[in-house]
Symmetry: C2
Subunit: 301 residues, 2 copies
């Protein structure tokens, strides 16, 4: 096995991609912002199943952060990340400087309009424009056959799929199932910012999704009642501040009808306040589940 390459420039990565493609190898890219956890590692495993070469990008993308403080606070454990990639047999890691991705005078943005607006787009203006711009650049740099993204960031995945389809980018987008802690909390690099109390309470997120799934299995089809149920579950955590709990079409992200049918996305974002008396902003977590509702029988009473 050849040693893992660490690549810093777009030019070098494109040259590598051209060589691999000429040799008939398939390339899979796993774009990340580093601080790799088991969720990322599961995406690397998926990538391996789709390709001969697995490349990981590690780039904390400034343009998708709304607050400068959030960008600065983002963890950057590069040595550990590289070791984790090596341990997974990753073939190359792309670790560009910000100036490589946003050269001086940069002014080009890739924007997916409708899908970027609701849910996280409402409270994070410009966030998805940053995501789509950097993902377009990473796909252009790595020229992969496949790129793998986690389903935890459901809206991000939907926005990226639409961008790839609209631009005609010659890459298959694969979603990876959300990986969870034993109590159900979805893995996220933000989890390490939770204090002990908030961490314990954060389990309400997956519990509220489970409750929704059970309700749907028990024939609940009323959108308002389902949302009320989910909110009630979350509000059992005193430190939880709901940003949104919504039911939407999984592809168009348009609001679900009052009476649910077919596949429906249940998406939520919740902030968890720090210990009373402690300083610091709430840690915002997201989670989601696609609920599968059987079609209503016609002529039912």
């Amino acid at each position: 096995m050849s040693p893992m390459r660490v690549v810093k420039t777009v030019h070098e990565l494109q040259a590598m991609a051209d060589l691999e493609r000429r040799a008939g190898s398939r390339i899979a890219l796993v774009p990340t912002m580093g601080a790799l956890h088991r969720g990322h590692l599961s995406l690397i495993d998926i990538a391996r199943r789709h390709a001969d070469r697995v490349w990981v990008s590690i780039f904390v993308n400034p343009s998708q952060f709304d607050a400068a403080g959030d960008l600065e606070a983002y963890p950057r454990p590069l040595a550990a990340d590289l070791a984790a990639c090596r341990g997974k047999g990753v073939d190359a890691v792309f670790v560009p400087e910000a100036r490589e991705i946003y050269p001086a005078g940069s002014q080009t943005w890739v924007n997916v309009t409708e899908l970027s607006r609701p849910l996280c787009g409402t409270s994070r203006p410009g966030h998805f424009r940053g995501v789509t711009t950097v993902v377009a650049k990473l796909l252009i740099a790595a020229k992969p056959h496949v790129a793998v993204f986690g389903e935890k960031d459901f809206q991000q995945l939907a926005v990226i799929r639409r961008m790839v389809r609209d631009l005609g980018l010659d890459v298959e987008i694969v979603g990876g199932k959300t990986v969870r802690e034993s109590d159900g909390l979805a893995l996220s690099s933000r989890n390490q910012r939770l204090d002990t109390g908030a961490r314990r309470q954060a389990r309400v997120l997956s519990k509220s999704l489970d409750a929704a799934e059970r309700a749907v299995a028990a024939e609940e089809r009323d959108s308002a009642r389902l949302l009320h149920l989910v909110r009630s579950e979350i509000e059992k955590a005193p430190r939880a501040e709901i940003a949104y709990v919504e039911l939407r079409d999984p592809e168009s992200l348009e609001p679900a009808p009052p009476r649910l049918t077919g596949s429906t996305l249940l998406a939520l974002a919740v902030g968890f306040r720090p210990n009373p008396g402690a300083t610091g902003a709430p840690v915002r977590l997201i989670d989601n589940r696609v609920l599968h509702l059987p079609p209503e029988e016609e002529n039912s009473p």
Copy 2:
């Protein structure tokens, strides 16, 4: 020589590109909106000098037109265009339907912010967003090593160069010199919309650029006087309506300083009214020249 291929889908073009690239061939793309004239043919000649395969795209891009009427009026002589490409030994022509480039539900835009604002951007909001979006899609579809654009559309070329640099697209952008009629009028598919009187008067555009070049050779360095000279030349044509005459930095497109130095873009857009009594909107023509001013000697009196 194998016969020219006519390709209608992005998928087919990408498969062709992959095969050519694997075989080590260089691809040059000449993106056009059809209605090919000698200006386009000169771009095809340039493309041939840069590559083994020359591909031409013919697509009247709806998203770069401001007025629906202008889009409808745009000439579409496809049979003649294909014959012209065949005559030039073009290897493939890409003639997608609008739905192929803008699939149902399309909502992804590529936008170059600052460079798209001045000059033609002022009176044509959204025009360059349409241009950069379609050019990004065409470059993604054809995966060329080189793409050739005319220098007549100077701002378009500047915007495209910036987009390619910012996104890291692995393609060399080559500009082709403006081709002119014997009286100096820059070739444009819009010229055929001029009536005889307007056509004769349209020669003032290149004459005004010549006058500016002579003035600069005679040591004129005052921006305001140079602009006045150019406007006076254009206003000799009674049917001319100046949209803009401007001096700008050729790369950043920022306004030139009052005292000119170095390379300076002189760009103009002028509408030509139809025959008095005739109906129809003025035909808007553009032209430009990069003026090369020697640096001022220090300590000059």
